[in-house]
């Protein structure tokens, strides 16, 4: 649980509350400090003040989204005006609360953010794992895989690639083995889940 707020007193109070309900909390008085000191790849979520001198809340979220560890961000603000709220929610803020929001709302928001981080993290791990395995495939196997996830039959693939149907079957066996999946159905689901093959493999650098 990372908390970023330029108001030292408020930072301390939120840290205390979230610490008391059982989160492990790290507090930062500015965004620069957060990026310098927080280790990448650590799970959790960020609770940030929207208005801060230097890098403000929205800029922090932007930088975080571009990083390798895009943690969900909950914004706290002294007063949420509509344009800022819209802008924050558009760029994917988990939640947007005033500093005096009821405790349950704050904790529920933190809970949701944590869950989302867990989900996203799992997805990213699977994605990473899958792309690592896909990298092990030969050029021809990648071609075949591209056609398979688009739902083409062996005959169609053979015709498209101008190869024998049996050769296609052989490639498919190799693909399921190398990617460590049990069936084409699982393969398609994985592809869908990770978004790995949304564009045809031949246009994509893996």
């Amino acid at each position: 649980m990372f908390i970023v707020d330029d108001d030292a007193s408020f930072l301390r109070s939120v840290s205390r509350l979230l610490g008391a309900v059982g989160y492990s909390v790290e507090a930062f008085v500015c965004a620069q400090d957060f990026f310098a000191r927080s280790a990448p790849e650590r799970p959790g979520c960020v609770v940030a003040d929207l208005q801060m001198p230097g890098i403000n809340g929205l800029q922090l979220q932007e930088a975080l989204l571009r990083s390798a560890n895009p943690l969900p961000v909950i914004f706290l603000t002294g007063q949420g005006d509509i344009p800022t709220t819209v802008s924050a929610m558009r760029s994917g803020a988990e939640d947007f609360l005033t500093k005096r929001a009821p405790r349950d709302e704050l904790l529920a928001a933190v809970e949701r953010a944590m869950e989302r981080d867990g989900r996203e993290r799992q997805r990213r791990v699977r994605h990473l794992e899958l792309s690592r395995r896909v990298a092990e495939l030969s050029v021809r196997e990648k071609e075949v895989l591209g056609h398979v996830v688009r739902g083409q039959m062996n005959k169609e693939i053979a015709a498209d690639l101008k190869i024998n149907v049996r050769t296609v079957k052989l490639h498919r066996t190799n693909i399921t083995r190398k990617l460590n999946v049990q069936s084409v159905a699982e393969l398609t689901r994985l592809a869908d889940e990770t978004g790995l093959f949304k564009t045809p493999p031949e246009n994509r650098a893996v």
Partner: protein, 628 residues
Amino acid sequence: MAGLLTFAWMCIMTPRAVAQGTEGANFSSAKHVLLIFSEARDLPGNVMMEQSVRAEMLKNSTNRMEFFTESMDAARFPSPRHYRLFHDYIKNKYAGQSLDLVIMFMARDFMLARELPTALASNVPSIFVVVNDLDAPVLPGHQQYTGVFQRFDVQGTIQFIFHLQPETRRVVVLSGTSKADQAVLDRIADTSRSVDGVDFEFWTNRSMSEIYEDAKKLTAGTVILIGSMQRDVSGEPIYTSQVARMLAPAASVPVYVLGAGSVGSGALGGDVVDFDDLGVSAGKLAERVLAGTPTSQIPIEMKSNGVPMVDWRAMQRWHIKSSRLPAGSLVRYQPQSLWESHGDFIVLVGFGFLAQAITIAALLVQRGRQRRAEAEILKQRTELAHVARVSMMGQLASALTHELNQPLGAILRNAEAAEIYLQGDQPNLEEVRAILTDIRRDDKRAGNVIDRMRSLFKRQKLASGTLDLRDLVEDTMAMARPDAAQRQVRLKLEISPHLPPAQGDRVHVQQVLLNLILNGMDAMKTIPKSRRSLTVGLDKTANGNLQVTVSDCGTGVTPDDAVHIFEPFFSTKSNGMGMGLAISRTIMEAHGGEIWMKSNAMEGTTFTFILPPSGFDKVRPGDLPGLS
């Protein structure tokens, strides 16, 4: 002289006339009123009624009035064919014209009332103005009218005769032969029976020329009373006023009449029908109807009293003393007295004396009034400054909410955390104690925000005192800081060390400074965020005054705007009221201080104000920049 006086009178009257003109110029809802006369329009009675009814309606109306006038001239064109033509003429002429009211003036009979409404739109309300002794018409299914029914005051006129001429022993009564004439004649005859010792003679079967000749030969103790004469013995149409004009100058005895229209003909007078008054009554009815009162709800007004009225010239002719006139008599055609003919000259001379006296008195009064006016201005200035201050705080409200929510949020979170700590078996009392310390500190912080604002919301008189400007500037900056953070403006403060105190009112000076800071931030709205910075400086001038500068790097002020920038209601901002700087200047004037602006060499503008040092009520001279 008269010209001069007229001019002076016009000067006095003109503003009122102008005011009436603008009130009357409501062109959005014109009222259309049709006036229909059964007789010729130029009969004296009709002229009087038309004038007074119009004048009365225009007097109080806020609407534009459009009058249409028609006359049927029924006495001279009595045939039914003419009547039908008139009916069709009205029907066709006003077919496309919306009318709000029809006023019908009827002397002869009620033909107009009975027949004419079918020529007009059915929903147009009507007012009947009736001058005769006929019974009011029963108009089945015709409820859309009200009116004034005027009877001739026969009894009053006979009494009037004996008032003026108690020696009268013989009354010659003239009457026409129409139905309406006959009704009046009947009443005269009725009344005559109750008068003892006086001989009433009814000349109803003589031609006009016979009457004319016989009237010349009447002897003293006799008077002539002309009743109603619409038609002579041969059946020719005639008018009462015509008869009076022909007869009265030639007659050897005074002639009395029943209508004001015949006064001026040479007749002596009578207890007459006052057509002006009748017109006013009709006009009042018309106003009510136009204002929306249904005619069915306005009862018909029956009038039977006349007004005692005499022709002054006829009184001279018959040697009748004005002491004989009954109270309330109207004397017409009386030449003007010295006062009346040269009154303007007398007034002018008197005016001259009076003016002198007034001037002297006014000069004495003026001094006291000026003092009171100054006090009033000061009071209004204080009020205005307060309003501007409150409105300025409104601008800061969003930022102040943030400023308050920060400590309040911290207090809330700390309290929640403390609750959880205390729920455990082994409460961490050390931590709870730290929390309580934090809560107290945050509470103080929130309190400070409120305190800073509160003084500015108070309505108070200018109270000059020793002023620590450093404290004031820092406080004001603190107030503006949250707003500056929202607008991403950097606030900088440059204060010289060892400054003496100034003389002034804390709240008002703070208002001026806050206004300048907010203006400065507004001026930087359109420049890139990285360059938005505002510097407040506090220093002592070479002449020993205290000087505060507010410098922005905004879009600047054009030379044209700079000339007007301190004027009320001048604003370059789309949502600006244009009062901020005007009030600031007023405040500075009240402090014996100065405020001015100067464009910066590079970009933006610097506003400077100077205050006198403590103990002085005016800044020391020499600090004002030249006009460069």
